[in-house]
Amino acid sequence: MASRVSSKGKGSKGRSRRGKCVKEWSTWAMKKAKVVAHYGFIPLIIVLGMNSTPKPHPFQLVNPV
């Protein structure tokens, strides 16, 4: 009896707990994605730009002329 009651309780609680789990994980993923985007966006543009044709010389990145 007790096991049946506990299993029924877990059924409805399990669904809401899973929903909370998904929400927590998606918040965690968004936070990590924000940090990655914040630090990695400009380096990504520089990497894409240095690999485009005609390939510029790395010295041109710091040369002001």
């Binding site: 543009i45 485009s52 041109q60």
Partner: protein, 297 residues
Amino acid sequence: MGEAGKGEKRVDYMNLPCPLPFEEIQREALMSLKPELFEGLRFDFTKGLNHKFSLSHSIFMGSTEVPSQSKDTIKIPTAHYEFGANFLDPKLMLVGRVLTDGRLNARVKCDLTDNLTLKINAQLTNEPHFSQGMFNFDYKGSDYRTQFQIGNNAFYGANYIQSVTPHLSLGSEVFWLGHQRKSGIGFAARYNKDKMVATGQIASTGIVALSYVQKVTEQGSLASDFMYNHMTGDVTSSFGYDYIFRQCRLRGKIDSNGVVAAFLEERLNMGVNFILSAEIDHLKKDYKFGFGMTLGE
């Protein structure tokens, strides 16, 4: 036979031109009446490494206004250096700007297919909960455009604009703010001929905006705009001019709030531009003058 020779072409309603995107309906009026006025010194240097990739360095020293409750304007002197990188491909455009305090301004525009475009706009800060981002999916049809937006804070929006005649396009937008459970709907219309553009927008947030731009000569156009905010009872009307000469571009405007502004961009040499900006608010006695130089294309 005689009527056909009068010079009026029959309108082919199956073959209308594609309208401008919904957010650019008032593009001509915004370009003429809202230049980027600033106060202080501005120096921008853009260095192109190849025709797709360029870096930019930007220095600003001046005052920025802080919104205040009292009628006085509060200005805080600020100075910052901004480093930017641009990658421009026919199908992919990446623009990033980072400031000395760690704020990042990112714009991505990617053509997923011929008609479908993804645009991402984000301002990321180091402080938590202050970052903003917006994803836009644009679909361009033969004579219509539609856009779907998803933003942070559970913002969802959609808009649709359709060419109705070769000169008139009508559009509407809806949006929903998740966290505040607010929604809104708006309508817009744009009528343009060769030398004039008239637009009108009305939204359920209580905003009515009208604008009219007329090209008076080869070099110049006049623009006027009217905005009414029903919630706050604000009414603003402005009138301005925009003249493009061979070596300079001069824009000026006067406002119903007692603000007179002017913005001059003068081309001194190939790739060297000199900028002067002035904004005089007679009612608040706030005088803002700025000067700067822009090097590079």
